[in-house]
Amino acid sequence: MELGTTVLLAVIQIAVVMGVVLLSVAYMTYAERKVLSFMQDRLGPMEVGPWGLLQPIADGLKLFMKEDIIPSGANKIIFAVAPIICLIPALIGFAVVPYSEGFSLLGGTGGTITDLNVGLLYIFAFASVGAYGVILGGWASNSKYALLGGLRSGAQVISYELVIGLSIVGVLLLSESLSLRAITEHQDGGFWHWNLWVQPVAFVTYVIAAVAETNRLPFDMPEAESELVAGFFTEYSGMRFAFFFLAEYANMILVSCLASVLFLGGYEAPAEFLNFVPGFVWLALKTWALLFFFIWIRGTFPRVRFDQLMKFGWKVLIPVALVNILVTAVGVYIVNN
């Protein structure tokens, strides 16, 4: 295949995937407000468009037209760069998520923007870089609340990344590959072949750690409204605030995508007779189900204390994940021999 075709194919896929992701981010904010409202017997946004459907667009326009304030005493360069450092890693991870079976497009194969053979590690590598945006944003604001939020977030993200990394090792042992496409294809064959049924403990630890990793309630220590105003983005306004916001929701969608690929069979249909539905629909359905779960959790649980959070991560989740690895490894060894 020629270089030009490769680049064109990549650009088309990037455009489509980014468009879908950004649209999902926008409507995730809407869905969150709506679902939370329903859980609290309210109606949520109703004014802009029918049933408030244009609300995310109105919010976005408002944020982008607001004044961009840089507080005095802030480190201007890092203050300006931090939101971008936060946003880019969140979006870049979607490059390796397989959204459909391979199909031919312009003489090449589509289905993933790029299928790295270290795809999973690639996502974790960039997810760990996202913490920089948070820490630097908190530091550069020259504000106590922001600094405390940034430090908490640093500690939390590092701890829970470890849990995520350990909880997926079981899946890797089963599928013997780091490529997300290979992991998905390993779960081929319907509902009962999903990794969820082989690795339920890993799934639970992954979901808990993912909630903590994306700074969502009940683990939203870095931005605990009632104690730290807004945490690391207390001083941010306008477009830069919007970037942080986008990054948070894009991260949520990314970890949900990853969970559906790792544990719920990705783009595979749950049963044979449903194969006529295209793969990306299944991926989207599973991802949105997990996103609903995130909102559900937010609507249910109160925030935990910071020391409880750290204790839970280090003393409960990591040992459980390690035991899960041990059990899985022994099981795989016995089955293979």
């Binding site: 480190n75 890092i78 790295l116 053979n117 270290v118 590690l121 690639y122 974790f124 590598a125 960039f126 760990s128 870089v129 913490a131 920089y132 820490i135 630097l136 908190g138 530091w139 600094l147 940034g150 430090l151 640093g154 500690a155 590092i158 990344e161 780091l178």
Partner: protein, 175 residues
């Protein structure tokens, strides 16, 4: 194409390395080093070591440098008026000898060494991750276990050094 990419990566690496040792604000030093780590990862990709490239980012960027930033913010270090060591002229002498040693070693070394049994094609056929894993867990099993011991000792050491109560208790016992 490959050469252009190499030249870009190498230039950025060197520039960022210079910035790392020359900038005054500690946070800028860390940021420069972070940029350099990314470009070193790019070099690894050029050398067909994708797994190492990703591990480089996870470990160096995701863990080690975050720790540096964390400590910087904990101590709230700011830039100082004088950032060079008092003895820097003396240092230049030492550096001259180190540079001479490096040049001499590179002159004497030469690059015509015998080749092993893992050319790029073989590695790509097996998969970078798998071939590393196979070597690591067979030929280098003992060093691997020793490395884990090193990490354990470092972990205990770090905890002992930073835990305030331990130091205080010790002092009270002696007095």
């Amino acid at each position: 194409m490959m050469q252009a990419i190499f030249i870009y990566l190498a230039t950025v690496c060197v520039v960022c390395a210079v910035l790392t040792v020359s900038l005054r604000q500690p946070v800028y030093n860390v940021m420069a080093l972070l940029t350099m780590f990314f470009h070193v990862a790019g070099l690894y990709v050029l050398l067909n070591a994708e797994f190492l490239a990703v591990v480089q980012i996870i470990v160096y960027a995701g863990a080690i440098l975050v720790l540096y930033l964390f400590v910087l913010m904990l101590l709230n270090l700011r830039s100082e008026s004088r950032h060079l060591h008092r003895q820097w002229p003396f240092a230049v002498l030492i550096l001259g000898s180190v540079a001479a040693m490096l040049v001499g070693a590179m002159q004497a070394g030469g690059f015509g060494l015998p080749t092993g049994e893992a050319p790029a094609q073989v590695i790509q056929a097996v998969g970078n991750t798998e071939s590393i894993g196979l070597t690591l867990y067979t030929d280098y099993l003992l060093p691997f276990e020793l490395a884990s011991l090193v990490l354990l000792v470092a972990m205990i050491g770090a905890i002992v050094l930073t835990k305030k109560e331990l130091i205080q208790d010790h002092g009270e016992e002696q007095s």
